[in-house]
Each structure stands twice: as C-alpha cells, then as structure tokens.
C-alpha cells in the first residue's frame, strides 16, 4: 500500500474513532468538555497527517471489493489521493479542527450532555466529509454525501427545542434530498450503461470514447441535480439561509467551508464526464452565474449578519459552479479552497460579534471596531478577501474564474458575475461599516470573548494573508503551477469593481452621502429581494398544492375505498349474524320441531329423489 493511501486512511479513521468513542462511551460524552477535547485532539492529529500527506504529494489510488457480484465485484470502495483530494483533506481537517476548538469557547455555556452530543456529531461530520473527499466511486461518494447531509440536519437542529431551528433542519434535509434523488438516479443510470461506479474506470472509458453519449446527457444532468441541492444552486438555494439557525461554528464549518462545497467538489471530481456534455456545462455556467447574482442582491438587503454571510456563500458557490461550467474547473476549485478559509474566518468573526452583543441584527451593533479591534481586524481581512482586494487570495481566485468565464465566451454570465463581484464588495462593506464603524447603539457591548475564539480568528486571518502572499509570489501552493496570467483589463476590471463596491458602501453607510433607500438596486429590486423573490412562497405553495393535494387523494382512497370495502364486509357479517340469531329461540320445543321435520325431510328426500 502506498504511503499516501496509509495517510489518507489515517486521516479518515481518526474522526471515526473519535465518533465511536463518543458514541459508545456515554460517560465520556456526558462530560461535555472532555468529549470536546477528545474530538478536537483527534482532528488535530488528523490535520497533522493531512499536512504530512500534502508534503508527500504522492498520487495514489487503492480500491477494494465491496458488494460481490457475478464476474467481479458489483461495487468497490477505495480512496483516491490526487491533487484534488490532497488540498481538500487539509482544508477539511484544518477548518474542522479550528471550528471544534472555537466551539469550546463559543458553546461553553451549553449543558455538558448537549455539548457531548455536539462533538459526537462534529466527529461524524468530519469523518463523512473526509470520506466524501476520498471516495473512489460514485456509490461510495453518495453514501458519504448522504452522511454529511444527515450531520448537517443534526447540527442545524442542535437547538432542537427552538421551533425555528427544527423547521430549518427539516427544510435543509428535504430540499437537499430533492437534489439527491436526481443524484442517485443519475449514478444508477451511469452504472447500468457502463457497469461500474469507479471514477477511474469511467474516466478511462470517457477518454477512449467508449461511453454511450446518448443517455449520458440525462445521467449527468441528474448527477448535477445532486450538486444543485448540496451546493445551494438556484432554485434549491432556499435551505441555506435558514440553516443559519444552527450554532455559528456549524455554519462556518458545514454551511460555508466544507459541506456546501461538496457539490462543486463532485462536479470537479467527475469533470471528465461532464466535459462530454458541453450543453450541460453551459447550462451549469448560466445557473451558477444567475445564482451568484440572485444571492448577492438578497444579501444587499439582509440585516441579519449570518444571513448576509449565508447569501454570500450561495453567491460564491455560484461563482465556483460557473467556473466549472465555463470549462475552468481548476479555477473553481481554487476559489473553493480560498473561500473555505476566508468564509470560515468571516463566520467565526461573526460568531465573536454575536457573542459580544447578543444579537444577529447589524443595525443593533455599531462601534464594534473601537470596542474590540482584535475581533474587527480579522473580520475586515476576511471581508477584503471576499470582496476581492489585491493581494488577498479572494482576488486571485475570483479573477481566475472571471477569466475562465470570459475565455469561454459566456458573455451574459460574465456580466452577471462581474456585477456580482461589485455587489459582493458592496454588501460586505455595508456590514462592516454598519456593524463596526457606525455610532454604537445603546449601552457598551462588554461581553467578553473567550480566548480560544479570538485565537482561532487571528490564526485564520493570518492564514488568509499568507495565502494571498503565496499567490503573489507565485509559489502555487494551491495551484498546479500552470497559472496563466490574466489579461490586464480583467485585473483592472476586478479591482475597479471591488473598490467601487467598497466606495459605494462607504458613501452610503459611513458618509451618509447617498440615501440607502434611493439606491437603484435597493429601490428597484430591494423589496423583491427582501421577500426572497417569492421563492420560499413558491416552494411552500408547491408543497401545499401538489404534495398535500396528492396526500389528500391518497388519504381519501385509503379512507373511503380500502377502508370502505373492509367496513362493508364487516357490516354485512354483523347484519347476517343479527338475522341468524333470531332462529335461536331458546325454546327446546322449537329445536325438536327442527329435528323432527328435518328427519322427515331427509326421509322424503331419500324416498323420492334417490
């Protein structure tokens, strides 16, 4: 077994071990903090192994038989260690570890038993996500895909006694299931056409042109539907903003850095197959760009800091998908990695802010920079990275995406993405100016931020800056090194867009030179965006109209047809019994009559008819 496979199995096994220990030893789980320390140290060890694996940088693949079948196994499991999974392993381990560390501070007021449950789910999530990343076959990926969905459900509903959280958990679960339905049908269609789930075999067939192209388009579209659900693409993006009901570290880990990017990762992993269906790629690009723009407009009018970040995640996922659609999956993947780092930073920073002021509403914050500069600075670094300011990593990866989309001559998606880049800078700095620099409201926000949270934020801020420097020096830590320089006009354009967005936000919310209510984007579509373009209502109506209508029909059939027949049968039996009991008069002489005339009738029958 190659060393990298051993490393990968070690990375995969540690969180699972931690989950098993926490699951099977209730005494440890109910201790809360101790459970957290077990889970966090397992993640720390996994991170070390993942880093060692990264240094090793060896490609390897190992496959084992799983489901037996006639003539070779029907399904296999395995691990793939390649330039796609190696950095992803590091990202997942790093963010998981930091989030678990951060949670020790963020959730320190939770009851010990709940905290133990939280860490058990966190370990299970880390295991599932790593398994998804390492999966060598579609089927294996699907299993882990569902596991991360389950963990997402469990962790969104961590405060399950709150109705909003319980509703959000169920909504997230069902909306993503809608996409997963397509995913599993697509996988089975691929399997019935080729007889294998393995990526390597499928890619080889794709290279040799041995794949039947006729049914491939539909199968790949169905597979893509899974990514639409998981990566919150239009129109299934509606679950992600509601998922913010979960604890903030969960939002940072699952709904920003790792799980929601699983869809993008899957499209990247299966890209040689998607590449065979160019029409589908164009479609993916359009949907991605449209999602990015739609979510960005919604973020501009949101006042809940976590929801702004959630919409920005949807928007950035749209960017990554658009890159894949434009035939530049590497750019999308790069953005996935950088976005994972700075979006986790933003969420964890937002967690610190929420911890300090006890509210999510940005209009009830203000003056936070002066109150806590050490919370403010990492948050602003993350914001600059997201807005795409040189030389932070967001600038480089976003520029690469724009370049890819422009290169593919997708003009309208390119314009949508450019507008989104402008809006991104605007809405992020809207949050920064309102929450950190506006005049403080009410009394001083004195709630102390625990040290672990602070340290994690600063560390992530430092990582963001270092990544930017790495891009600047062209070391290519995250890239394969074949980075062609973007044309100068594009560099200038993305900088102008980002700076323009920041300036507009500054003029509007800091100088008050522009009335926010009169900005065209806010006035024209602001109302619609505030109502989320009616999509939630539409889905609700769809659910009520079709699903409930269908359920009522089934209910009617069950109640009146199935039950009706049984009720009629039982009523008939009762009626017949009631009629027949009358012949039981209880008088002995009646019975003698019966016997006497019965015998007589027998005699007559024997005499006359035999």
């Amino acid at each position: 077994m190659p060393a990298s496979v051993t490393y990968a199995l070690g990375v995969l096994g540690l969180p699972f071990l931690s989950f098993l220990v926490l699951g099977l030893v209730p005494g440890l789980r109910r201790r809360g903090r101790a459970a957290g320390i077990v889970s966090t140290s397992a993640m720390a060890l996994a991170l070390v192994i993942a880093l060692a694996n990264w240094r090793l940088g060896e490609r390897a693949e190992a496959v084992w038989a799983w489901l037996p079948g006639d003539g070779g196994p029907m399904a296999t499991v395995g691990v793939v260690v390649d330039p796609l999974s190696i950095p992803m392993l590091v990202l997942v381990c790093l963010i998981s570890f930091l989030v678990q560390l951060y949670s020790l501070g963020y959730l320190h007021e939770e009851p010990a038993a709940s905290l133990g449950r939280y860490y058990a789910w966190q370990s299970l999530f880390a295991f599932s996500m790593l398994g998804l990343v390492l999966a060598a076959t579609f089927l294996q990926m699907f299993v882990f895909w569902e596991l991360v969905g389950l963990c997402s459900y469990l962790l969104i509903g961590y405060w399950y006694e709150r109705p909003a959280a319980a509703r959000a958990a169920v909504k997230a679960f069902w909306v993503t299931k809608l996409g997963d339905l397509g995913f599993v049908i697509g996988i089975v269609m691929l399997w019935s056409a080729t007889g294998t789930f393995e990526f390597a075999v499928l890619f080889r067939m794709a290279r040799e042109g041995a794949l039947p192209v006729a049914g491939l388009g539909l199968a790949m579209f169905l597979v893509y539907l899974g990514a639409v659900g998981k990566s919150a693409q239009f129109p299934l993006h509606i679950w992600l903003p509601d998922a913010m009901e979960g604890p903030t570290p969960v939002s940072a880990l699952i709904h920003a850095a790792t799980m929601v990017t699983a869809g993008v990762y899957m499209v990247n992993r299966a890209y040689p197959l998607f590449a065979l269906v160019p029409d589908l790629l164009v479609f993916i690009g359009w949907v991605g760009a449209f999602t990015a723009l739609l979510a960005a407009t919604m973020a501009c009018v949101e006042s809940d800091i976590k929801r702004v970040l959630a919409y920005s995640t949807v928007s950035q996922l749209g960017f990554m998908m658009a890159a894949a659609g434009a035939g530049a999956p590497a750019a999308g993947f790069q953005h996935l990695l950088t976005h994972g780092i700075f979006k986790a930073l933003l969420f964890l920073g937002a967690g610190c802010v929420i911890h300090m002021v006890g509210t999510n509403d940005i209009f009830r914050m203000g003056g936070l920079y002066r109150a806590a500069p050490w919370v403010g600075i990492p948050f602003i670094v993350g914001t600059l990275a997201l807005a795409g300011i040189w030389p932070l990593p967001g600038f480089f990866s976003k520029e690469a995406i724009l370049e890819g989309v422009a290169h593919a001559h997708l003009t309208v998606p390119f314009l949508m993405l450019a507008l989104t880049a402008f809006l991104t800078a605007f809405y992020m700095f809207r949050v920064v100016f309102i929450a950190f620099f506006a005049r403080p409201h009410g009394p001083e926000h004195g709630h102390h931020v625990p040290g672990t949270m602070d340290v994690v934020c600063r560390f992530l801020g430092a990582v963001t800056i270092l990544l930017g420097l790495d891009f600047l020096l062209g070391k290519g830590l995250l890239t394969s090194g074949e980075q062609a320089g973007a044309p100068a006009w594009l560099t200038a354009l993305s900088l102008v867009l980002a700076v323009g967005g920041i300036l507009l936000a500054w003029a509007t919310y800091q100088r008050h030179a522009v009335d926010p209510g009169r900005l065209a984007i806010l006035r024209g579509i602001g109302g619609m965006a505030r109502r989320r373009y009616g999509l939630d209502v539409l889905f609700g109506a769809f659910y009520r109209g079709i699903m409930l209508g269908f359920s009522r029909l089934i209910g009617w059939i069950d109640r009146y047809l199935v039950d009706g027949i049984l009720n009629a049968l039982s009523a008939l039996t009762l009626r017949a019994g009631a009629g027949l009991r009358r012949i039981q008069s209880g008088q002995p002489q009646d019975y003698v009559y019966g016997v006497a005339f019965g015998v007589l009738a027998l005699f007559v029958w024997v005499q006359l008819f035999r």
Binding site: S585, G586, Q587, Q589, V592
Partner: protein
C-alpha cells in the same frame, strides 16, 4: 295379527308422543311424551323379535327400559330443580338460551 299391525300401532304411539312433546307446555308433559316415543320403539323391537325369532330384540328392549327409567329420573330431578329456581316449569318461559 301380522307384523304390519304392530308396526302401525308403534307408529301411532310414536306420533302421539311426538305431538305431546311438541305441544305440551308443561315440562312433565314433555317428559311423558318422550316416554311414549321410547315405548313405541320398544313395541317395534319386541314385534320384530317375536316375528323374526331373534332374542336380541328382547334384550335391547330390556336395555331401553332400564335406560328410560334412568332418563326419567334425571329429567324429573332437573324439572324439580328448575321449579325451585324459576318457580315455573312452563316451557315457554324456559328460554335462557335465546339468541
């Protein structure tokens, strides 16, 4: 007298007994009707024994008489017990088993 005449007599006695069983309202009367029916059978048995020269019929008759006595003893005892409990032996009122 031929065997036929005995058989007709036995049939008449049997039918009279049956009529009594079916029409009497008094439980003792019903028992009497049953006695008549049993004795009609006895007449048949004795007549067949006499005309066919077979002693088995006589032995059967002896058995029947003995059993009849036992049956009447049990039946009358039941009637007495019913009378003690229900204060009547009218068959029309003894309908506890009505469905």
């Amino acid at each position: 007298m031929s065997l036929h005449a005995y058989l007709v007599l036995a049939a008449l006695v049997f039918v009279i007994g049956l009529y009594g069983v079916l029409t009497r309202r008094n439980a003792v009367g019903i028992l009497l009707g049953i006695e008549l029916m049993l004795n009609a059978v006895n007449i048949n048995l004795v007549a067949f024994a006499r005309f066919h020269g077979d002693v088995a019929g006589l032995i059967f008759t002896l058995f029947t008489i003995a059993i009849t006595v036992a049956e009447v003893a049990v039946g009358l005892a039941i009637v007495i017990v019913i009378f003690r409990v229900r204060k009547t032996i009218d068959a029309d009122h003894l309908d506890l088993l009505r469905g």
